[in-house]
Symmetry: C2
Subunit: 156 residues, 2 copies
């Protein structure tokens, strides 16, 4: 049985995040010491590693909840699991496409800058004038990912 800190370093999930997953019902409340500290079994660690990996692959917690439920029922067919994964894959593909359109547009805008004063800045103009662009993502569009990661180097 491991304390939460050991589980954190083993799975790569931060301590508050582990507690958060418990609160969200992704893992069951673990055993406790007499003083109330959490104690995790190997099975708990496996489950957390599963969650971690699935999160790395971009699955939402709801997807992961479903995947965990399914894997707890070994006699069901694999079809539902497959469907969740395929759906997610197609979402990732769609996201890539949107980002690529966005990149094309941004590249076009950036390359139009010839230096000079902001008064005649092409970038500002391009941003102000939606009509002149190929409106890459005007509906169903990509917005910025909020935070890169837990462990990504952070510039404050």
């Amino acid at each position: 049985m491991l304390a939460i800190g050991a589980v954190a370093s083993r799975t790569g999930i931060k301590i508050p995040t582990i507690r958060f997953y418990e609160q969200e019902g992704l893992i069951e409340a673990p055993a406790r010491t007499d003083s109330g500290r959490r104690l995790y079994s190997d099975e708990d660690v496996r489950r957390l590693s599963f969650i971690r990996h699935a999160r790395d692959l971009g699955f939402e917690l709801d997807d992961i909840r479903s995947l965990l439920d399914l894997s707890d029922q070994p006699d069901r067919t694999c079809a539902d699991v497959d469907q969740i994964a395929r759906l997610h894959l197609s979402e990732v593909e769609a996201r890539i496409e949107r980002l690529r359109a966005l990149k094309r547009e941004l590249t076009r805008i950036v390359s139009s800058c010839a230096g000079g004063r902001t008064a005649e800045c092409r970038i500002i103009e391009a941003l102000a004038d939606h009509g002149r662009c190929e409106t890459p993502t005007h509906d169903g569009r990509e917005r910025k990912a909020k935070r890169s990661s837990a462990r990504a180097p952070k510039r404050k």
Copy 2:
């Protein structure tokens, strides 16, 4: 002078979002009617269109704040504008790369599914077993975009 609804349909920004931008200081508090309804000038509409377009291109509100500040100072050099845009472009490129790695890994996992029971499901296995994958985004990783869009069709 236009009411907020007219501005919303002209710019494609939703009414609550326009009020939100005002609250965030991206636009100044507009004129009001005697009864307190907001009235927008053409200049306000232009500024909002600028914001909208920049958001479509994935700039964060902080970036947009900077871009608006810069465009309000027509005698500065374009360099800062250029830098913001280039930085954003490189972030978009990095994001595409991370997503592509993720897509490769997901494709690999999905294609390993041969049907059958979840007990021997390769997808579940692949998710459980991080060691066996190419750990595409283990640090500095991509996480899912939270909400696709304002106007994207929503499945409840």
